[in-house]
Symmetry: C2
Subunit: 187 residues, 2 copies
Amino acid sequence: MLVRKQGYAATSVDEICAAAGVSKGAFFHHFASKEELGVAAAEQWTVRADELIFTLPPWVRIEDPLERLLAHIDFRMFMLEGPPEGFTCFVGTMVQESFASSDTLRRASDASISAYCERLAVDIEAAIARYGIRDGVSAISLSYHIQAVLQGAFIIAKAKNSPKEARDSVLHLKRYIKMLFERGETE
Amino acid sequence: MLVRKQGYAATSVDEICAAAGVSKGAFFHHFASKEELGVAAAEQWTVRADELIFTLPPWVRIEDPLERLLAHIDFRMFMLEGPPEGFTCFVGTMVQESFASSDTLRRASDASISAYCERLAVDIEAAIARYGIRDGVSAISLSYHIQAVLQGAFIIAKAKNSPKEARDSVLHLKRYIKMLFERGETE
DNA sequence: GACGACATACCGACTGGTTGGTATGTTTAG
DNA sequence: CTAAACATACCAACCAGTCGGTATGTCGTC
């Protein structure tokens, strides 16, 4: 999607229509406003991201939940190579633009991010159940932390116009997760 | 600054002029374009952030570099309370909007972020020299990781409209740093 | 199966307002 | 007197959103 590359505000309805090959009349027939498109796009993004990350890749069938989690991190790190429109999180970008101007868009973005984090927390929970974890860290808070590191890595990668520093940051995340699970007490 | 709250694209030159109490003529007398204002704002942000984080707070005079680093993390976490315009990183937000449309703005944002990270790396380097660190982690890469976690935490806080998850993420970062330095081999 | 009544999908010219930027005039300081 | 600092009025381009119109069903009724 164009909006993913350019941002929500920077992409006009005319551009969207031209790229999608539809008329402006058709656009406003299906969406009452540009904002409504943003909400729909966020919902679709939730579905697509879930597929792309939790369904399609082969490593999602790794049995060991901790190994699966680490493979997940590796996968996200691998995505940092290549152009920003390949790794950028659509809702992460949109929420920064819209949280001040549109609560509707903010909520839609939040819903998408939360859905991802809650899905990821399931795997983390399984890993904790099997291996235990240090300091009684909760699955959901670690999940949000992973999300935060990734979002931050995207920003660094865009600013640097290079994936190097971002990749290193995700490596730090991976090391942290390993450390949390090694010697973690099973309760 | 208004741009910090609303974002670069979402803030018009007229608004900026009204808020600053100057006429549009005066604005374009000082800046050739809106983009040039963005660059100047990024430069000013570098200075202000350095003061706000590395000069003014009392804890910058803590002698132990590791304790100082951890106090720094606590400080950033504390900033997450309160409204977004209080904790938001101006250049972090701007780079997301502009990296696709203006390389000039992207470079200006990068310069600001890099300046912060390099300054922080000095403290980290001192901590490593005194205590050693696990896995031969480099000061500058840890510095960028800290930056990434903070930027990511800002996004989460904005999406959730609450600092809770973001605060927890920074706590994870703090735990990670502690773990890196505990039992680190001094070379 | 023929007919009108109504609904849905779609088109693209148009509008009112906003945008970044300019042209031109006025004030102020050295 | 001059040049920089500022103000005012203005512009063309662009923006999201509207509106009258058309083409294509798809019902119910006789």
